[in-house]
Symmetry: C2
Subunit: 315 residues, 2 copies
């Protein structure tokens, strides 16, 4: 948890000789800002808070560094090399016995184990517990934008693929990660929610059917906006340029926040999303027109076949 | 209007030797982007569009210059010195006879005439027409962020004050500008909507009453967020630091878009807005807690008296 982190943070800040500190929190943790501010100001630091929406370390408030010596980003591990940023972990614990709910579903020979950043400190405990129950567990080392062992992100399932296991156990909340892992690995995925204590088998079939329909809806679009994010870890301009070259009616559109209102105002008949991969998959229902992933746009343009469908990741 | 501007724009771009062009449109004109893109691409330029919300030249998409030689900003005059930006006007015409609706309301000795950027090219015609009706019209030269003669912005009423007239005729839509002018000049304001063809006398009294209530609601707030915009022409960090020094519970919060959701997530009991001045006045009803102007926060902190109330402007 966060509560006891101030003293360690203050030590790190002093080591760096920082005097002016900017703080950034993801949406669910913004309310914790006040406690940090009080502790840091009492210790003599000048503090500013980034008030913009934030959903990951791909979205660093680097602009605050104009007025701060260091940016403290809470809740995520780094996705790129940023010496001017301190990444503060936010961990959520649970009792190992919640894993029992997944045991009847683990029918494969080898089980790859992955989780999200807030539970990743429990990977060794989870391995040990599962082994004690007779499960052959595989965990892949972290790398790239998932630096921790067994860690996955919504845009990066490398540690799931690299287990090479014939089934994956995902420990975390929501279905986006397990669906992405299913599509990325081609293996069955068992999703265990450690807070609810429930487990389910997750497949990518429904997503694939939905995405197929979205691609068909985009066919014949007279104008295509290729969205490029201006966020630090989501900016894929080279990919966007390559995609724009596939269609004479495609234009690159830069955006900080990809919002339904702005897509409507811009008036394109279809968009291709090179920002956070989850936007196209999760938020289609909020968008006024089809928003395709890069791979889906390639299918639409005929440069990729449907049976080479891949889920979009930022490696 | 915009339609015939492409050829002139292309000439300007060629003169600069630009090859890669970024385009930025305010919300109401974003749909016109497609026409520009087609014309510029046919002329051999590489084009990208800024898709972020935009409400003024205070909000330039300077980030696009990482991928473009020049930024073309449509619809506003510059608020600061930006040699890398081409400002393209957007004009809206009307027939002089619509001014007749204001004539019965012009009872003062001298009438100061002001308007917004889309009508400012008609200032000479308006002067001539009003004089032909026996009105003694005064128009002040432009300066600062209102560079054109007779121009006002929602954050700058200098050209109204400098007429030193005993009443002001504002030509334009909405009531924010005339209310601001009334508070800024202390003179009666006649607001003429040239599209609806209606005129009314506008006073600042209702706004003052509402703002007085908001200040009272903020009294005793246990935490105060001093909002600093990260937009190019709205960033008033020095002002924010001075305001933060007035209260031990005030912290600076940087924001790109000041949205009700983010104010709620951050959880401060009260905010002070140093971004676009209109936000506090226009959008209080959307905000979850009191959002004060800089001057209102000074009143709350006791460093300014209520009878020195001033409307917030960025000169």
């Amino acid at each position: 948890m966060l509560s006891s982190d101030s003293s360690d943070l203050i030590r790190q800040l002093k080591e760096r000789g920082a005097r002016r500190v900017a703080l950034q929190f993801p949406e669910g943790l913004k309310r914790k800002a006040a406690g940090y501010v009080t502790a840091l100001m009492a210790a003599g630091f000048e503090v500013i808070i980034s008030g913009d929406p934030c959903y990951g370390a791909c979205d660093l408030a680097l602009g605050t560094l104009a007025d701060a010596d260091v940016l403290v980003h809470v809740g995520h591990t780094p996705v790129d090399d940023r010496p001017e940023v301190i990444f503060l972990p936010y961990t959520v614990g649970f009792d190992m016995s919640v894993l029992d709910a997944a045991l009847p579903l683990l029918q494969g020979r080898h089980t790859g184990l992955v989780t999200t950043v807030q539970h990743v400190h429990l990977i060794p405990d989870m391995e040990k517990y599962l082994r004690s129950k007779g499960i052959d567990v595989q965990v892949a080392e972290g790398r790239g934008r998932t630096p921790l062992r067994g860690q996955v992100l919504g845009c990066c399932f490398t540690t799931a693929r690299e287990t090479k296991a014939d089934q994956i156990l995902f420990v975390g909340t929501g279905v986006f990660h397990p669906v992405g892992i299913a599509l990325s690995t081609g293996s069955p995925v068992i999703a265990l929610d450690p807070l609810a204590g429930t487990a389910q088998v997750v497949s990518g079939d429904t997503l694939l059917r939905r995405r197929s329909a979205v691609i068909e809806k985009a066919r014949g679009a007279k104008s295509v906006g290729i969205i490029v994010s201006t966020k630090s870890g989501q900016r894929r301009m080279d990919l966007a340029r390559r995609l724009a070259s596939l269609s004479p009616v495609a234009v690159i559109v830069t955006m900080q926040e990809v919002s339904p209102d702005e897509l409507l105002n811009l008036g394109f008949a279809c968009y291709v999303n090179t920002a956070c991969p989850r936007l196209a998959y999760d938020d289609q229902i909020r968008f006024p027109v089809p928003v395709l992933s890069p791979q889906e746009f390639e299918i639409l343009c005929g440069t990729r076949s449907w049976d080479k469908y891949e889920v979009d990741e930022i490696p």
